[in-house]
Symmetry: C2
Subunit: 337 residues, 2 copies
DNA sequence: CGACCTGGTGTTATCGCTAACATCACCGGC
DNA sequence: GCCGGTGATGTTAGCGATAACACCAGGTCG
């Protein structure tokens, strides 16, 4: 039986088209100085042979790959998962393959190891989804010279960074509640070491300060519905609580449930706003008013920033922020009189 | 300013160690015929220069890459997301990089395009997460000869496939309810075109048949909590319903909530079992008895099957199944008398 | 004691591509 | 009508690894 012959190479295309392999290369790379007729002949030959350029050979001679490495945590949290998914799509559309290095915990060693694996692969650039402080710390170890963009990372660090404008979203959510007539707004917060959570606290506080509203204590939680439920049980018992801004939709779901169990109707007695706009948010009872981050936009900005670094070596505007959008549904109403 | 000189190559290591580059290659690839002393000298040189082999060069000469392509849907559903995450980890541990090609919808064209992108990259093999029938259909277009493993795909197709044993998990869940004393078990199902959902229906029915229990009509839903809630509202009104097996935990959550709103206590009045064991399941009220698929095991099997194909060209046992585990919590009790 | 193996090493060719330079026909301008 | 420019193409030289073969010392064996 005959062994399957090797994949067609550039010379095979060249032979079929009656040109040199270099001309084939020129056609492939859209060089200007190729006669139209020749270009067509070459393209026909490429199609006929189902020729695909060998990326390894190209990478070898150019010293560049079309690969982007992403370091992400091994979690299924909505925010990071959406971000990753959006980034893969954006990079794919730009002709880059995305290699994902998963990490169990966001600590220094794991992240350093994941970055090393990517460097071994000679990725063109690396994106790190670093939503909490331990992850951000780990980036100090990454040697300079590797194009690197942090997503969801520490806004106080000078590394190139793209984030959702958490503070702005939180500000708008809070202001929306105040505008509805609430005297003040309580806040159920995510984990303190997450930048997302910190930014949302900051925006919430700013909105209260702007109208000289009293600032109640932050109710600390993690990102889970369970912890939102616990926080909600507490808040439901306090009659002065008429408006709650939750750091994400799952927390809000927990609060919604606690309120409902205590007989406090949403939005009639208590208004609730979330953050993330998870797919189910519109099906909560009542449909949840929330803040929608534009993950696709974050992904695009990230890719742009990274490719800028890849080509220029340096970046002029290292930090970019994407404004989220308030999505009004049915969980906000004026306070009861 | 001096331009950063190029990365060290094998010859640089060779020069430093006083050997030929071929000897360096032998050390790197663990060839037997290298003197121990030489091996150590070479290793020291590698370390000193922080040398990393150029994968492009290796791929060029060997014709193989260390890349695995994965095609997955652009969704954040718990099952597929966990699977992807687990696979990335497993492949990473085995020294393979994983390139993810996201697809917006699981239709023929999108999947074919994603597969083509991976073939362009000359991945060693491709994994397709194809949880519903349209995705499985699309695989008919994939040319033979590319190592390919389907995860969560159509069990009736002859392609190499790894799945959770949905039927077994559903069987056990249902049997657990029957063993607790329930006369029959109702089922809230996922979308009919998903294999996961179909397998769970099948297992549920088998368990009922095995004990000659009456088989109530399937309550059809999608995967969302919202649809589970709607199904639950209906079931809660029917006093003869004492046990419900839900096709996933989110559905179960919706059912739980509907039951609670109607004053039917879980597990005292109605028992509920879910599927997936999402992280929050232990924090539902009551903590949910559910079926836990072993995503890590699925990932390992998948990788194994793929690498077998890569090396052998053919596979002997093309279909593998991973048994899930029943996790007993507090949502199951004997029926009320 | 010379032929032969064998473990350790070096030399050379090669993978498929792009960059750089070479070639050549043809053009316009003085 | 010769010169230099320019557009279209071909030729050659690597990129950095592995594979195949060559080589050489030292031991084994007939």
């Amino acid at each position: 039986m005959e062994k399957t012959s090797r994949d067609p190479a550039m010379t095979d295309v060249a032979r079929l088209a009656g040109v040199s392999h270099q001309t084939v290369s020129r056609v492939l790379n859209n060089h200007p100085n190729v006669r139209e007729q020749t270009r067509l002949r070459v393209k026909a030959a490429i199609k006929e042979l189902d020729y695909r350029p060998n990326r390894a050979a190209r990478a070898l001679v150019t010293g560049k790959t079309q690969l982007i490495g992403v370091v992400a945590q091994n979690s299924t949290l909505y925010g990071p998962a959406s971000l990753l998914s959006a980034f893969e799509e954006a990079a794919g559309a730009a002709g880059f393959a995305v290699s994902v290095g998963r990490v169990k915990v966001l600590d220094r060693d794991s992240i350093a190891a994941a970055v090393e694996r990517h460097r071994d692969q000679r990725v063109a650039g690396i994106v790190v989804i670093a939503p909490n402080s331990s992850a951000a710390d780990a980036l100090a170890d990454v040697p300079a010279g590797v194009p690197l963009v942090t997503v969801d990372g520490d806004p106080d660090r000078p590394t190139p960074l793209v984030t959702v404008d958490q503070a702005k979203g939180a500000f708008e959510a809070t202001k929306h509640l105040i505008d509805a007539g609430h005297e003040t707004v309580w806040h159920v917060s995510g984990p303190a070491d997450w930048f997302d959570a910190a930014g949302r606290v900051q925006g919430w506080r700013a909105a209260l300060d702007a109208t000289s509203a009293e600032v109640p204590p932050v109710v600390a939680a993690d990102w889970s519905a369970a912890s939102g439920y616990r926080a909600g049980q507490m808040l439901a018992r306090m009659p002065e609580v008429t408006a709650v801004f939750c750091s994400n939709d799952h927390l809000a779901l927990g609060v919604l449930r606690a309120m409902s169990e205590r007989g406090r109707r949403v939005p009639h007695d208590v208004s609730v706003v979330g953050f993330d706009d998870v797919p189910e948010a519109a099906y909560f009872i009542p449909p949840l008013t929330t803040v929608r981050p534009d993950f696709a936009a974050v992904a695009h900005e990230t890719l742009g920033l990274l490719l800028e670094q890849v080509s220029d070596g340096e970046t002029t505007r290292p930090q970019r922020t994407v404004a989220p959008m308030l999505v009004k549904r049915d969980s906000v109403a004026p306070p009861p009189r």
